[in-house]
């Protein structure tokens, strides 16, 4: 038993760290630290740098740019990005549609999409959730009707993250409404966002931001060559896709970076005659969160070690649901600590945290205070998305406890 990284792993970590330090735009990093929204260009610039280095899609098949890293290397890579902090490669491209196309797509689809997807020349968004199909995704109602060499898509998707930037959307749509089980009869279809009949309406979240959208499909005509794999097999591809987003799910690096930041700011903030950081109550709250985070980091490493033993393409480890539950709770705990840090300066509301919308008005209070409230409000989503924490409990109850 040994908790230390090997010399090779440490060298790998240092290489990533050095690359981020040299290549990540200071403006992008600053926005992430201050909790401002990062714009499309921040994502694109950074992902192209990663892609040039060969690190945008390390987990893809080698012939399409993958690196054949093991689970430990993948974990170290994501953890370093999170701790920097740096944007992760766009997950809709790199963890979702890319691996599906690489595994189930036609040769023509691979040639057309994979390279630009890795380089973020194409921005993808995810057309899965619907107003009536959230945790119960298989209850989706959007239809794709076959007419000659086309599918005609009708329906509504929702919670579509960053659809406003997207060039293409991957859609789950019902191609066989008569299928016996609701999981059957669903297809996985790629749609150009510029196709007539596709419209996007932003949804404003309680923090004031507009990161998610409704996407409407009204008689949208899509060539049949945009079907991925076989018709009516989309549910299998969607399940495969969801297994790919597990590795960084606890986002421990993000919580670590935020705790470091909270400590820095709690030295600046005064509390009576002392620094906030000198207050015993604050230190105890901080220590409580840090202890759970340390425990979760080791739990995460145990899951990584199991994945390493099992080989790369095994089944999803139901223990990753533990990581989702605890990881989301701890990220949310850091947002509460950050509100403790800024105190009354959590109150002033700025409609948009989007950098492009900022005016020359000076912020009310310290610049780091503006995002404390919005991040607290916005991050309630973390225990809801990607399979709500209650769904994760159902998974554990069934797969681990055998209920």
């Amino acid at each position: 038993m040994d908790l230390n990284l090997s010399a090779e792993e440490m060298a790998f970590r240092d290489e990533i760290r050095a690359f981020i330090a040299a290549e990540l735009s200071p403006e992008t990093r600053e926005k992430l630290i201050l909790g401002r929204e990062i714009g499309k260009q921040d994502f694109v610039d950074w992902q192209r740098k990663l892609n040039a280095k060969g690190w945008a899609v390390p987990h893809w098949p080698v012939e399409w740019g993958g690196k054949n890293w093991g689970p430990m290397q993948e974990y170290i890579f994501l953890d370093e990005l999170q701790q920097a902090p740096a944007p992760s490669p766009l997950q809709f491209n790199c963890s979702m549609v890319g691996p599906v196309i690489a595994t189930f797509g036609s040769e023509a689809q691979k040639k057309k999409f994979l390279a630009p997807t890795a380089n973020l020349d194409i921005w993808w968004c995810q057309g899965f959730s619907e107003p009536g199909a959230g945790s119960d995704l298989a209850g989706l109602k959007t239809t794709a009707r076959r007419e000659g060499d086309f599918y005609i898509i009708n329906g509504q998707k929702t919670w579509t993250t960053l659809a406003q930037y997207a060039d293409w959307i991957f859609v789950l749509a019902r191609t066989n409404p008569q299928a016996e089980k609701k999981q059957q009869g669903i297809s996985f279809i790629l749609v150009d966002m510029k196709t007539p009949g596709v419209s996007v309406r932003p949804i404003q979240l309680i923090d004031g931001g507009r990161e998610v959208n409704e996407v409407w499909f009204d008689e949208v005509k899509v060539p049949v060559e945009n079907l991925v794999g076989q018709e009516n097999k989309g549910w299998d591809y969607a399940k495969y896709l969801l297994t790919n987003e597990r590795m960084g799910i606890a986002r421990i690096g993000i919580s670590k970076q935020r705790i470091r930041r909270i400590k820095e700011l709690a030295k600046i903030e005064r509390y009576g005659d002392t620094q906030l950081l000198d207050q015993p109550w604050f230190r105890e709250k901080l220590a409580s969160v840090e202890i759970e985070l340390k425990a979760l980091e080791i739990t995460q490493l145990r899951v990584v070690a199991e994945a390493r033993k099992r080989g790369k393409h095994g089944e999803v480890d139901p223990n990753s649901s533990i990581l989702k539950i605890k990881g989301s709770e701890l990220q949310q705990a850091t947002t509460e600590l950050m509100m403790d840090v800024v105190g009354p300066y959590v109150l002033p509301f700025t409609e948009s945290m989007d950098d492009e919308d900022r005016t020359n008005e000076p912020p009310v209070g310290p610049d780091y205070a503006a995002s404390a409230g919005p991040t607290y409000f916005n991050w309630r989503k973390i225990s809801i998305y990607g399979g709500s924490n209650e769904i994760q409990r159902n998974i554990i109850a069934k797969a681990i406890l055998g209920f």
């Binding site: 038993m1 040994d2 105890e284 406890l401």
Partner: protein, 379 residues
């Protein structure tokens, strides 16, 4: 990074598990052991000696197997699962560590062989969990020291052949310097004790030292130099208790889940109720978090940096305390009435877990210690 046991460690786990299953598989046997004068059956202790468990953490030169913290973790986890009542942690782990780090190795072969039991007497009325808080006085007199004072809640104190006593040789009650550890033969004139059972089915004793003469040669680790030795030994004991707690929590979670699957109400197994399923999952999450920290504790015990070691151990103790409380309380709740009966095993896991939280610093004590130090724990 590696979480696997070596082949030898796997073998150890298997053989200790087998031995304990034979001795404790039938819960009625445990009740029988507790009827012995000091709360455990010397025949079981002799079996531990025979199997080499008592000599495990000691160097080969002292009749041991040279096992490290991971081996201790393995044994303690099995003891937690079995709810073993022998003073293994008190004598082998804690007293053993004091003798090891205090370079007072003469007694080790006897402890390793099962011929002697040692107990560390460090708690005093009012000292709570502070190891430096020592009033019991040791006054130099010729070639001897004379010990005068009382020690409280001495784990394994009823059966002990030897006490390791923290005493003040100079300075004031709470000074870090001036605390000296003495090895005291329990048969020495002036030593008297009152043994009693503890809530969890173990045993402890109140021990008083009335003008007890101890030769200078029995000073452990140097006059006035006792605190760092005791602190290191207590860290090992905490790491061991963390592992024991994980064994107990693991067994208790399994037991509760099995119970939910068999217990029927309203015509169905109560495991079909989502509220109870989710509660069980929360118990599992707390168990896995505790397991991670027990591993962390074991792998930190040998850290040469005493401060870093202490922080790691405190962090582990906090997590184990929180997990133990949650799992213990929920296990009883999910069992319903049977959970609060003396005849059923779940309540005994709960009691042991609760006492572990109270030993060597409770959750709040260690949390405050980390907070006061401004320790960097995870970031």
């Amino acid at each position: 990074m590696d979480f696997d046991f070596s082949d030898d460690q796997k073998l150890l786990k298997e053989s200790v598990g087998k031995l304990l299953a034979a001795r404790y598989g039938d819960f009625e046997k445990r009740k029988g052991y507790q009827k012995h004068p000091n709360g455990f059956d010397p025949a079981v202790w002799a079996e531990y000696a025979e199997a080499g468990i008592l000599s495990l953490p000691f160097a080969e030169a002292h009749g041991g197997f040279g096992g490290g913290p991971v081996e201790t973790m393995i044994v303690m986890e099995e003891m937690g699962t079995a709810l073993a009542v022998e003073p293994y942690m008190a004598s082998v782990v804690l007293a053993g560590a004091v003798l090891k780090y205090g370079d007072a190795t003469t007694l080790i072969p006897d402890i390793a062989g099962g011929e002697a039991i040692a107990a560390v007497a460090h708690i005093e009325r009012g000292s709570r969990y502070d190891l430096n808080d020592v009033s019991l006085a040791a006054r130099a007199d010729g070639a001897d020291y004379v010990l005068e004072g009382e020690k409280s809640v001495v784990l394994g104190g009823g059966a002990a052949d030897y006490f390791i006593v923290s005493a003040r040789t100079s300075g004031n009650r709470r000074d870090a310097e001036g605390m000296t550890l003495f090895l005291v033969d329990a048969k020495s004139a002036g030593v008297s004790r009152r043994g009693y059972p503890t809530q969890d089915g173990h045993h402890a004793a109140e021990v008083s030292f009335g003008s007890v003469r101890v030769p200078v040669a029995n000073v452990i680790g140097g006059v006035g130099k006792g605190l760092p030795i005791l602190a290191r030994a207590v860290d090992e004991a905490i790491a061991a208790l963390c592992a024991e707690a994980v064994g107990a929590m693991d067994a208790l979670v399994k037991m509760t889940v099995e119970y939910l699957k068999t217990r029927k109400q309203f015509g169905v197994a109560i495991a079909s109720f989502q509220a109870l399923q989710h509660r069980s999952v929360d118990m599992l999450v707390m168990l896995e978090q505790a397991r991670s920290m027990a591993i962390y504790a074991a792998l930190s015990v040998d850290d040469a940096d005493a401060v870093a070691r202490g922080h790691a151990i405190s962090a582990a103790k906090v997590q184990i305390g929180k997990s133990a409380k949650f799992i213990g309380q929920q296990a009883i709740q999910l069992h319903g009435g049977i959970g609060v009966t003396m005849e059923y095993k779940a309540g005994h896991y709960f009691k042991r877990l609760t006492m572990i939280e109270q030993m060597f610093g409770d959750t709040d004590y260690h949390l405050r210690k980390l907070a006061a130090a401004g320790a960097s724990i995870a970031a």
